[in-house]
Amino acid sequence: MRVMVLVKADKDSEAGVMPSEDMLTRMGAYNEELVKAGVMLAMDGLHPSAKGLRMRFSGAERMITDGPFTETKELLAGFWIWQVRSFDEAIEWLKRAPFDGGTEIELRPVFEMEDFGEVLTPELREQEERVRAEAAKLAS
């Protein structure tokens, strides 16, 4: 399964203050550990909300409000996408993150392809195998 790890913004991230060198080092080591464990699929940091905007939809109308936005707790500063075997495993990995100082991180499972197990009968499997053979002549 995949999870998204949502890193909330704080005063510093909104002010565009970069983390300390010590924090960057520890975060780098943590990220490397995630990569080496085959967990990391994506990660990115976001610019402060001052550089972003919000669009409000109402009928045909598109209302744009420019940042910055004030309610820091509801803003994001970055995210990871992890591939894990269970939500528990994601919790365990998150515990090892080097955050501090009251930082709050949100962990959310990503919607995945349905489990096809129940809908696929042996007959369909046979068909699937035929298709795989056909596909083999079209692709690798």
Binding site: V35, K36, A37, G38, V39, L41, A42, I81, Q83, R85, S86, D88, E89, I91, E92, W93, M113, D115, F116, G117, E118, V119, L120, T121, P122, L124, R125, E126, Q127, E128, E129, R130, V131, R132, A133, E134, A135, A136, K137, L138, A139, S140
Partner: protein, 422 residues
Amino acid sequence: MSASDTHRTIETVFRIETPKLIAGLARVTRDVSRAEELAQDALVAALQQWPGEGVPRNPGAWLMQAARHRALDWLRRDKMLKRKHEEIGRDLDEEADPIAEIEEALDDEVGDDLLRLIFTACHPVLAIEARLALTLRLIGGLTTEEIARAFLVPEPTMAQRLVRAKKALAEANVPYEVPHGPELAERLGSVLEVVYLIFNEGYAATTGEDWVRPGLCEEAMRLGRILAGLAPREPEVHGLVALMELQASRLRARIGQDGQPVLLLDQNRALWDHLLISHGLKALETARGLAPSPGPYVLQAELAACHARAGKAEETDWARIAALYGALGALTPSPVIELNRAVAVAMAEGPAAGLALVDALAAAPALKNYHLLPSVRADLLAKLGRHGEAQAEFSRAAGMTRNRRERDLLLGRAETARKAAG
């Protein structure tokens, strides 16, 4: 934290940490089974202590420490036993400090140990099924029950397979090391093969109610990524990661809403997993940066990438696919690859060019009973308007397949060709 929460945490931590524990312990014990037992002992210790004392702040380090103690006890007992056997009167104290030995082994760069463990689990002395099972058990950290379910065999059968595999390793006295020199390429080949077979086992799995079996694709990709982290200079490792990720990116699109399988060229490309595609393309780029001349996994990943890069089926770069099959065929000659090349050439240059290549394959003994040969030939003949010949080839192909649906399909096309021939 409730007792059941603690248990879940322990299980999860253990699943994450076991491979590292076993890898470190195996270096001390030189015996994978013993290392596994010692790691299990550490788990038992956690199960006894954590519910009362709470989960330690750094559970991984705690388990490593517990494993260390158990390894030390084992080493003492082992030495004592040997001493009794050999009737050597020396004191334990006079010998090299076993604590230091273990500390050194377990504090060392874990990565090297993990790599040793992977090479050991995929050792050619083992049958291929044993390699798959042992890799999932030792590196993947899957339980015997999960592996049994994944391969659709009863649990006792799988348990026995694992026991035999470990015994075979011990009996063959397989050294616990990362191979060097010319042996490395061959042994790495076995590791990559094992990971790719695990992937294919999952990729083909569309039956049963088990989530574990399709989960094998994910497990294989995880193993591949771990391997890429451990052996970052090996282009074929990155090639395999890219190949698996690019193929897996289509999993969602392979089955239609009614459960009907969907052919690659008919798939809704919006359903492709674009995160996996970008990850796979990046891995492929890394591989290409490392290897001036690509190996078979890199080439297959390149093939998969041709499809991944095409926004629409019509945009597929068939000329490049044909060239890649040519390169792959030069590395690992096979009439099946040549047939694939013929199809790509037909797509790129027209049916006549493809047909010339297919006709050259007609005598290949390996394709004697391969129904796709006449089926591809028939398709090209029909496209060229040679309906009479196409009908004969479709019928021949229909007679060669054992699959009912496919036979019906081919007979249908033969009938169409007959009508077209008038």
